[in-house]
């Protein structure tokens, strides 16, 4: 305890009382207790890597969402809302909801019926070993990097907000995640993600509630933002007619096609970090319902992430700036908007719960990365390429060790990021290189039976290389932005959207051309993998309110409504 207290320095953004510390310590104790409790229920590969495939739709759905709520999500998008206004909500609505519904209704049957352990595993069944190897190795590497970045970001936040030593935060959080995932496998990660989801809401929901009380409601908030910043900050679509008319420097085509159709579909339907949670569902109906439940809650997340950023524009007495300017002037950066709002409204106890919500968010993201890495490494790299035909117990043991090693390498990555700050930008760009082409490969594989193994591999390869090429082109010659993002006025966000769109198109075109020149598989070989040659169980006997399609329609109607409401 002395060491703990010694790690807490007096100069901080907020000051924790004894009851706040008790709440944080209790949280760490509870997640470890859950890991210990579940240790005895993770003895087989199916238990450890797939949580026994016995999760209900609610648990799989909340875990699916919670694995994404971690990382830089809470702090980063609150900061983006302060910086860009309500445009940041696009990443929660058009940038998530259609893709999540598509995953539930269209894609889940193929993932689930094929009984694959992972997305690279599906590529093996559909396109062959080379596509799986390319996808698995890139995913494993990127997952470790992302996990390290998350870890470093969390440690940085705890340093800024609480004054905690960075090394102390990294060691405590990584050891906790390693312990509960290594002990209980995916089941433990999922249990904790659901707990973390509830704590995030319990800790963060009070900020927008009290913020709206202070500002006098949404209408008054808009007036105050118009006075302090600009009226553009509260419009979702009206400012997207030109790159120059909005603070994000983006055009509606980039949001709709780049974000809405490519990046979002790529992330939510093919990133194994989130798909793994749905694959753990107990039956096909639960697997289809899980992303729909996730979508319903995803639509509400802007309330605890975007709204606090907007409230910061209205009520905070100081002007927040970028990280560099904040360091130079000694002021506060955009990234501190959520802790500042927390400190504004939350007294003893509530402050501890709010900080717990932040820690829970970061830990759920880290655990999501580590458990997905463990599965892909064990099944798609180790068992496929290094040691075939070992016993199930051997692979479970490998999974446990791999969890610890994965966390260890994430810690190394965190220190690498710390040493070279610009690496963070590069790695996030690297991660995006694989998402859009992978989506092109998977969607063609599922919906077009003529796609061949060679087509899948070369399409994925060409899409990835073209994405890296476009990124390097703009880095070397910034003037190339006018070609990649269609405008010299485009900013970083817009460049990412259009690069994703072009790389997806390259992937799809190359896959189609190569497939047409190579021999297709027979219908019998594609059974269970491709639309049109797979018998999907009908739901005719189930009441309408039990059907995933019904709830997907309900969520879709609300999705359209919120876009019109904040137009």
């Amino acid at each position: 305890m002395t060491a703990v207290m010694a790690a807490i320095t007096p100069t901080t953004l907020v000051h924790l009382s004894a009851v706040d510390i008790a709440i944080i310590v209790f949280y760490f104790a509870l997640v470890l207790a859950i890991g210990l409790y579940l240790r005895g229920r993770s003895n087989t590969g199916e238990d450890f890597f797939m949580a026994g495939r016995e999760m209900t739709a609610w648990i799989a759905g909340l875990s699916f969402l919670s694995a994404n709520l971690g990382s830089l999500e809470l702090m980063g998008w609150a900061a983006a809302a302060y910086q860009y206004g309500i445009l940041a909500a696009h990443w929660y609505w058009i940038g998530a909801i259609p893709a999540m519904l598509f995953l539930g209704i269209v894609m889940m049957p193929f993932y689930y019926i094929s009984k694959t352990h992972s997305v690279p595993g599906y590529l093996k069944l559909r396109f062959g070993e080379s596509s799986r190897a390319l996808s698995a190795i890139s995913f494993a590497l990127m997952t470790l990097f992302m996990s390290g970045i998350n870890m470093y970001s969390m440690a940085l936040v705890l340093k800024v907000v609480l004054g905690w030593n960075i090394n102390f935060s990294i060691v405590i959080s990584s050891a906790t995640v390693a312990a509960y995932v290594a002990l209980g496998g995916l089941r433990s990660a999922i249990f904790n993600e659901v707990l973390q989801f509830i704590l995030i809401w319990a800790g963060a929901a009070l900020i927008p509630i009290l913020g709206l009380v202070e500002t006098g409601g949404w209408s008054n908030l808009r007036l105050q933002i118009a006075r302090n910043a600009s009226a553009e900050y509260t419009h979702l679509w009206t400012t997207l007619g030109s790159f120059k008319d909005n603070p994000m420097g983006i055009h509606w085509t980039g949001i709709v096609f780049g974000l809405g159709f490519i990046i979002s579909f790529g992330y939510w339907t093919t990133d194994f970090l989130v798909v793994q949670r749905v694959l753990s569902a107990k039956d096909l109906r639960s697997a289809k319902m899980a992303p729909i439940i996730g979508a319903a809650f995803k639509m509400l997340v802007p309330f605890i992430v975007i709204l606090p950023g907007l409230l910061g524009l209205a009520v905070l007495p100081m002007k927040l700036t970028g990280e560099t300017a904040a360091l130079a002037t000694g002021g506060h950066s955009y990234n501190e908007v959520l802790p500042l709002m927390l400190a504004r409204y939350c007294g003893p106890g509530l402050l501890g719960l709010g900080i717990t919500a932040l820690i829970a968010g970061f830990m759920s993201g880290m655990a999501g990365n580590v458990s997905a890495f463990t599965t892909v490494w064990t099944y798609d790299i180790y068992r496929a390429l290094i040691k075939k035909n070992e016993s199930d117990a051997h692979y479970v043991s490998m999974g446990r060790w791999c969890t610890v090693l994965g966390v260890f390498f994430s810690v190394l990555t965190a220190y690498l990021v710390m040493s070279f700050a610009s690496i963070m930008d590069y790695v996030q760009a690297l991660f995006s290189f694989f998402i859009a082409p992978l989506y092109g490969t998977v969607i063609l594989g599922m919906l077009w039976k003529r796609a061949t193994g060679a087509g899948g591999f070369w399409g994925l390869f060409a899409g990835t290389v073209s994405s890296i090429g476009m990124w390097a082109w703009v880095k070397i010659n910034p003037a190339a932005l006018r070609y990649v993002a269609l405008s010299p006025n485009a900013r970083d966000m817009a460049e990412n959207m259009y690069r994703a769109l072009w790389s997806w198109i390259v992937c799809v075109v190359v896959t189609i051309v190569v497939s047409c020149m190579t021999k297709a598989k027979s219908d019998a070989e594609l059974n269970g993998l491709v639309y049109g040659v797979t018998a999907i169980p009908h739901e005719a006997a189930v009441p309408i309110y039990h059907r995933p399609a019904f709830w997907a329609t309900v969520v879709a109607v609300f999705f359209v409504a919120v876009n019109i409401l904040f137009w």
Partner: protein, 73 residues
Amino acid sequence: MREGGISIWFFIGVSLLVNGILIVGAGIWELIAPPALDARVVLFNLHANVWWGALLLIFGLAYCLKFSPGRKT
């Protein structure tokens, strides 16, 4: 998720219950011994930690009882 084990909702109930008790306790202590004016949070007069903590406590207690490992389904 309760076959042969403790439900995740029970763990969530325990978490909300303990947090609720601690937060309500801190809120009541602030009512008894209010902090100095310059140390108070914005909207201190609403005593958010009392009612928000009570809400967590009630939900936590309900989940603990409903999903208690000893309770027969």
